[in-house]
Symmetry: C2
Subunit: 171 residues, 2 copies
């Protein structure tokens, strides 16, 4: 009956912590799930309006700067619980660098190396960031579990990049 998309469900999840505006929810989401679940401003406001229309969320009195806080209704709470108990779908990865590599026969080997090196730097940064956050002490073990995923992932990408030259230039 409820049928929420994961993004909308996450918003309901965050609203368990008390009322919040779209703006706040965007930032909360970025911090808490942004590493493995993308969402945009536009989307948040759109979902919030839709959730309000379905009675899963209620708009409170507007604040300064046209701030519009929302709070969870009992229906919203129930919908969230129902969503959370559903088996999560499988992940989606879209990696443009792999596309470039897949068509790599039509590209300069040097250019390809450049691209890979550029991405490597990003991954190193992210890995370092995840490690720091774990070292600083994750807020709870669920967050720690997601950070552990991030670390495994980044390590895997880096390891792959290490073996790439051997694959790409005959061995």
């Amino acid at each position: 009956m409820a049928d929420l998309n994961p993004t909308a469900a996450s918003l309901l999840g965050f609203l368990h912590g008390g009322e919040a505006s779209g703006y706040e929810l965007v930032h909360t989401a970025e911090q808490l799930i942004g590493d493995f679940w993308t969402l945009t401003r536009s989307q948040v406001y759109r979902e919030l309006a839709a959730l309000a229309g379905r009675g899963l969320v209620e708009a409170g009195p507007a604040g300064p700067r046209s701030r519009q806080p929302y709070r969870l209704t009992d229906e919203g709470r129930a919908a969230f619980a129902a969503w959370l108990a559903e088996p999560p779908g499988s992940e989606q990865i879209r990696y443009p660098l792999l596309l470039t590599i897949a068509f790599g026969s039509a590209l300069d080997r040097d250019r390809l190396t450049e691209f890979i090196d550029g991405h490597r730097a990003d991954h190193e940064k992210r890995l370092a960031d995840y490690r720091e956050r774990v070292a600083a002490g994750a807020p709870d073990r669920f967050t720690e579990a997601t950070l552990a995923f991030g670390i495994r992932y980044e390590e895997a990408v880096l390891a792959w990049m290490d073996e790439l030259p051997a694959i790409l230039d005959g061995r």
Copy 2:
């Protein structure tokens, strides 16, 4: 000037192999880049029409079963080359299981375990598949490079799942 999205660009890429219909392109894409770049029927037909409108692709004479073959134009070839030489964007991951885990404090521990086990099976299957394809001999080293990514990724996920219980239940 060209400014292609990666999906449209991939279609141009495939059309280097000769003319093809939307239907064929869907299947080609699934096989060759489906592991790290999702695309759907709807999207392919939409892009093909748009590419034709921009003159990057030309419709040939329709075949049986309303089959509509397309072939690359010189402009299309140029646009593809230009796209390929652009630095690829960073990857997008959206992993619903991580969302469920992030909100795991509101969920049965047993249910969570169930979900994780379900996903583990998928990842094991995919890993086995990638390994088989490498063992069978990848068609070229670029494909082999993308398969190597798949293997690293699946191994990482599996390793993460191995350490999950320790993280989730205090250690």
